[in-house]
Structures are given as C-alpha cells and as structure tokens.
C-alpha cells in the first residue's frame, strides 16, 4: 500500500495497463514528453517509449477520430481531452462515432477506448475548463461515463475502464486531483463499472452524488448527525449506467432522498435519478425527492464560483426540507 493522491492513482492505473497490454496507447495534447498539464502521464513516455505514449496536434476532433482508427486496427486507445469544456470540438467523434461503432457494424467492431478528461469547479480556472458536461455524455447510448471521487476508486475504475471493450468517458474532478491522499494498493485491482458505493450508512435520508460533491455530502452528513439526522451517502462512481439497485435499496430503508450534483439543474444526471426513484419506490417515499444543483446559468466567472457552486449548507437546507415535509 502507498499513500497516493488521485492524480498519482490515475498515473499508476495507466502505468499498470501500459505494462499489461501492449495495445494500450496513451496520447493527447502535452501528455507525452511533458507528462500532461496536471502531470497525470508523468514518466510514462520515459518508461514505455514514444510509440506508446505520445503528443498529438492540437485538435480534439482529430485526437478522437484517430483513436477510432487505432481501435479499428486492434489498439486500446486512452486519449486525453485536456479540459472537458473542449468536448464540443469532438462531440461527433465521441457521440456520433465511437459510441455507435459496435451497433452500426452489427456487433462486428468494438471501440475499447477510454477518454480521460479533467473537469470541475473550485480551482479558479478560466472559461470552459470547469464545466460539468457529464449529462451530455450520459444521454448518449453506447457510452459509459465514470467519475471517481477518491484515489482508490480512481485507480480501480480506470484500470477497469481501459479493459472495457466499449467506450468509456472517464472524468476527473480537478479539485480532487491533489486535495487529499489515501491508501492505494500498489498492485493491480479493479472496481466494477456501473456499481455505486455506500460511503456512509444512515437511516433517515439518502444523499446521492458523484465527484467532488460526495465529499461535500459527507461533510454535511457529519453536521446533520449533530442535529440528529442520520444521512446515508451514496457515491455513484458511474453516472451512465447508474446503479439504481443500490439507490432503490437505500431509499426503501430511509424513505427520503436528495440528489446532488455540481452541474446546473437542467444538466447533469440528477433528474434521471429522481425519475427512477419515483418509478420504482414512490410508495416508500415520505417526501418528494429534491435536488441540490448549481443554478441554470452558464458556468460562472472565476470570482463567482464561491457563491455559485453548491456547498454543504445547501445540502443541509434541502435535507431539512425533506425531513420536515
């Protein structure tokens, strides 16, 4: 075991898979010689060579189009999109192409591609760096969308994503990259895709979130405990497909739920979770399922992040509303 930050765990996952499978290729803007703008690929080109870990021209559509072509020749590409706000440049290659390839070829081609990309607020980035756009990806049949909240999950989920034979969008919250360390096994292990984790057990209300807001939820849960409210916190880990079994089981126990996301109310995936709960557990609910989200504006100018991003007090307020409904 070693103490790792999430970014170290991510590097470790790529190192593991580059070592395990000679078809794994890591590429993107500045990921080669420089080791990535966040050092996520540091040392990998030195260790595995330019043939396996390499820089590309500055063109996101070209990067993912090339990933598709490499997959058609039997490679297992792990391209990086420098910031997920740049995904608009490559929506066709992702949603119009790689997500569809198995289907459009009648099951004869597969796209074992893992697109890594940082996103997320609270770190003072310029325009279109921090936007939460996982909702756009979660709407695309053919993709899986994974968002880890801690180093242990990040390594296990990334190894599993790379091994998956269908395209995976692996979104890395920038605020979590170096915010804390935790014990991560040095050997390889996997965390199953499409499976949520119960991060804290509780009996009065279920808090469902993913990414950085999981930590905000845990902080809120501690404060709620002091007020006599026992909150169960579920980390989705995969936002497409969502592990509804774990959610429904929890809601049947607590009878109340609040869904949390950093994305705007009209975006993200919270509405999907609310809809599924009301379809499958309405008779177990003591109160409506509420959402904690950002407001429906564009992502804020840097100095306004503090008042715009959902925080633990907004979670506590919503929990109090469902408790007192």
């Amino acid at each position: 075991m070693a103490q790792m930050t999430m970014i170290q765990a991510i590097t470790d996952a790529m190192r593991t898979e580059l070592g395990n499978d000679e078809n794994v290729l890591v590429f993107g803007e500045d990921v080669g010689y420089y080791g990535g703008v966040f050092r996520a690929t540091e040392g990998l080109q030195d260790e595995f060579g330019e043939d396996r870990v390499f820089d590309t021209p500055l063109a996101e559509s070209g990067i993912n189009g090339m990933a598709i072509g490499l997959a058609l020749t039997g490679y297992r590409p792990v391209p990086e999109i420098q910031f997920f706000g740049f995904v608009f440049e490559t929506m066709d290659a992702i949603a119009g192409q790689m997500a569809r390839y198995r289907f459009r070829s009648g099951g004869t081609e597969s796209m074992p591609i893992t697109i890594r990309s940082p996103f997320g607020g609270g770190v003072n980035t310029p325009e279109l760096h921090a936007d939460s756009l996982e909702g756009t990806m979660a709407q695309m049949p053919g993709l899986k969308v994974v968002i880890p909240s801690n180093p242990y999950d990040a390594k296990g989920l990334l190894i599993q994503s790379i091994r998956d034979n269908d395209p995976v969008i692996f979104l890395e919250h920038m605020k979590l990259y170096r915010s804390f360390r935790e014990e991560v096994p040095e050997e390889e292990y996997t965390v199953e895709l499409g499976k949520a984790a119960v991060k804290r057990e509780g009996s009065d209300v279920t808090l469902i979130g993913y990414g950085a807001i999981v930590h905000t939820a845990l902080k809120a849960a501690e404060q709620l405990e002091e007020n006599g409210v026992s909150a169960e916190v579920i980390d989705l880990r995969t936002v497409s497909p969502v592990d509804y079994d774990t959610i429904i089981e929890s809601v049947k126990k607590t009878n109340r739920a609040v869904v949390l996301q950093e994305a705007q109310k009209q975006a993200g995936i919270a509405s999907n979770v609310v809809a599924e709960i009301q379809e499958k557990a309405i008779l177990h609910l003591e109160a409506p399922v509420l959402r904690v989200t950002a407001p429906d504006t564009l992502y804020p100018f840097t100095q306004a992040e503090g008042v715009w991003l959902p925080d633990h007090t907004s979670i506590i307020e919503k929990v109090e509303s469902v408790m007192n409904f």
Binding site: D51, T56, P57, A59, S61, G62, N64, G65, M66, A67, I68, G69, L70, A71, L72, T73, G74, Y75, D92, A93, G96, Q97, Y101, R102, F103, R104, S105, G106, G107, T108, E109, S110, P141, G142, K144, D164, N165, D166, G194, P241, V242, D243, Y244, D245
Partner: protein
C-alpha cells in the same frame, strides 16, 4: 501574393493518361496492367453502371431505401479500388458502396445497408472496411488513425478513404490529413470532386483552384487526377499506396469527376441547379465510353463481352434483392444485443420487457 498562388496552382496540373477519344496521351505514366487486368477493370465499370441503373429503379419501386447514385464516377471509384490489396482498409463515404462490393461485400448486404438493416453493415471477415460514413469528414480523421495503426504494426497495408468536394470544407477533413502528415500515417485520401455538393457547385466551397492543393496545408503530397480516366486514377492511387507503405507518408488525391444522377434518391432534382450543357459536357467524358474505345483499339473488348457482363449483373442483382427481402426482420432485442459487449443495468431491464413483447 498572386504570384504565390500561381506558383502553387502550377504544381497541381491535372494528371491524365487516357484522353476522351480513348488515346494514351501520357505513355510514360502508363501503369503496368496485364490484358486480363484491363478487361477486369472494364467488367467492373460496366457492372457498376448497371448496378447504379438497377439501384435507382429498385429505389423508385420502393424496394431499396437510401441510395446515392454513382454513374459517372466508375473510374474514380473503381480505378482507385483496383490499386488496393485485399488487406487494405477502406473507410468509404455514403456514395462509396461500389468499392466495398468489389472488396467482397456481398451485394445483398449492400442492399440491406440501403434498406436500413444491421446485417448490411456486418463486414465479412476478409473485407477490411467499415460501413459507409454518413457524417461527412468523420471518415477522414478515422482513416488517419487506421493508417497510423498499420504503421505502428509495421504492416504493408494502407487505409484509403473517400469524400466529396463539399467534404473538403469540413474541419475533420483538415484535421485528418494534418494528423496523417504529422504521424506519417499509411493513408491515402481521395477527394472525388464531382462538381456539386447537392446543389452547391465546387466554386462555392473554396477560393482554392484545386482541392489537391489543400495537401499543402498538411505538408503532404497532393495530386489532381482526371477522375474520368480509370488508368490515371489507378496509377495515382498505386503510387500513393507504394509511397505510404514505404514510409513516405500520406497522399491526397483529387479526382475530377461527375455524377450523372441526382445527389441521392431522396427527392434531389439536379435539373434545378445544373444545365443540360454541363451534363452534356461531362457525358462526353464518360469513363466507360473512353475506356471501351481504348480496349477496342487493342482488340480486348467486344459488344458480346459487354453484354455478358450486363446480363450477369442483372441476374446477380435480382438474386441479391431477393436475398435482402428474405432476411429476417430486425427486433428491438437484436438492436439491444449489439450495443455493448455486456448489457448494462438499464438495457438488461428493457431487454426483458421487449423479449416479453416479442414472444407474444
């Protein structure tokens, strides 16, 4: 500035071997092709012209769906295809079904593609290709990736991809050729300049005098070819293929060609944007007429041989449309089963629902 442009344009004069009268005008560029090869190329062009005529008729009868006519482009499509080997990888646009057929895609599958059935998109193992690309430009970046994959694996094969004159205005077109250049990908890019993108003439796509010169922006070789001259298209593609597998990088080939029919069979009416004069001018250049004259002058072709090909085509088309008609209808559970290697939770649930419906 003007001088710079003139200098560039001079580099991209049209490459031709066979003129409109079927005479060899560029003996030294003449590719090495046996008499059998020459006859086979002619057979394929005639067959493909018949295929086009029958496909239009079958579409009008409602027995085919989406269809993009190919008449006029036989030299461009089949001359370039004839320069390929069986292990080369084809990334076609939506008009490039003939290349897939001559690479080995059974005709009934090409018809299932037209009708909208997933079995039409299942390439046989020996056909290294993907189904026709509908998103104009997407095939270009993907072809750069396939060509890079072959280079990395040290394979002496290439990726070849096709788009039209309109397609060369897409961002993905530039990104694809630029990536291929930067990585030395084993890729040949063919732009079939058939003069119109639906109703928009190629002059409205760009101020560039040729599409071939767009290769300059990527730092790769580019060549403009008479796309109605099957020998020139073959020779240009063959050379580009050799260069690619010898590590000399990708090539952009522009073929000057014409589609005699509409853009697609979905209601396009070319008489609204093309004059009869233009059509006539290009009919004088017909690639089949020209090549027939050439073969006849060498005593390699007769009316009898041509009729044999036509009869064979008609019979095979009849059998293929029948086989397509007899293919089992698609079920929703079939569509679910080709989504992922393993069905995720949501689809597992939905699959049970649909399996129940389908069992009734």
């Amino acid at each position: 500035m003007k001088r710079t442009l003139e200098n560039i344009e001079k580099q991209f004069e049209t490459f031709q071997i066979l003129n409109e009268q079927g005479e060899i005008v560029n003996e030294e560029a003449m590719p090495e092709l046996s008499d059998d090869d020459l006859k086979e190329i002619m057979r394929r062009m005639v067959y493909t012209r018949i295929l086009d005529q029958r496909s239009i008729a079958l579409n009008r009868q409602g027995r085919l769906g989406f269809y993009a006519p190919t008449a006029g482009q036989e030299a461009s499509q089949l001359g370039s295809h004839y320069a390929l080997e069986q292990d080369d990888f084809i990334l076609p646009g939506y008009r490039d079904v003939p290349q897939l057929i001559w690479q080995g895609l059974p005709l009934y599958k090409a018809y299932l593609f037209s009708k909208g059935h997933y079995i039409g998109n299942q390439m046989p193992e020996e056909v290294k290709a993907v189904s026709p690309q509908i998103i104009i430009g997407a095939q270009i970046t993907q072809a750069a990736g396939v060509g890079l994959g072959f280079k990395k694996r040290g394979e002496k094969t290439i990726a070849i991809t096709y788009t039209g004159d309109g397609g060369a205005s897409q961002g993905d077109f530039y990104e694809g050729v630029n990536f291929a250049g930067a990585f030395g990908a084993q890729t040949v890019f063919v732009v079939q300049n058939n003069q119109y993108a639906i109703s928009v003439p190629s002059e409205k796509q760009t101020a560039a005098q040729t599409i071939a010169q767009k290769a300059v922006a990527a730092g790769i070789e580019g060549i403009q070819v008479d796309g109605m001259d099957v020998l020139a298209v073959y020779a240009a593609t063959k050379e580009a293929r050799e260069r690619a597998i010898n590590g000399e990088g990708p090539t952009l080939i522009e073929t000057l060609t014409y589609r005699y029919g509409p853009h697609t069979m979905a209601g396009d009416d070319p008489t609204r944007y093309r004059t009869e004069d233009t059509d006539n001018e290009w009919e004088q250049k017909d690639p089949i007429v020209r090549f027939r004259k050439y073969l006849e002058s060498k005593d390699l072709w007769s009316e009898e041989e041509e009729n044999e090909v036509i009869e064979k085509a008609k019979e095979e088309i009849k059998a293929a449309i029948k086989e397509a008609d007899n293919t089992a209808k698609q079920k929703v559970t079939d569509l679910m089963d080709i989504m992922y290697e393993e069905l995720p939770q949501n689809l597992q649930e939905q699959r049970e629902e649909y399996a129940e419906k389908e069992s009734k």
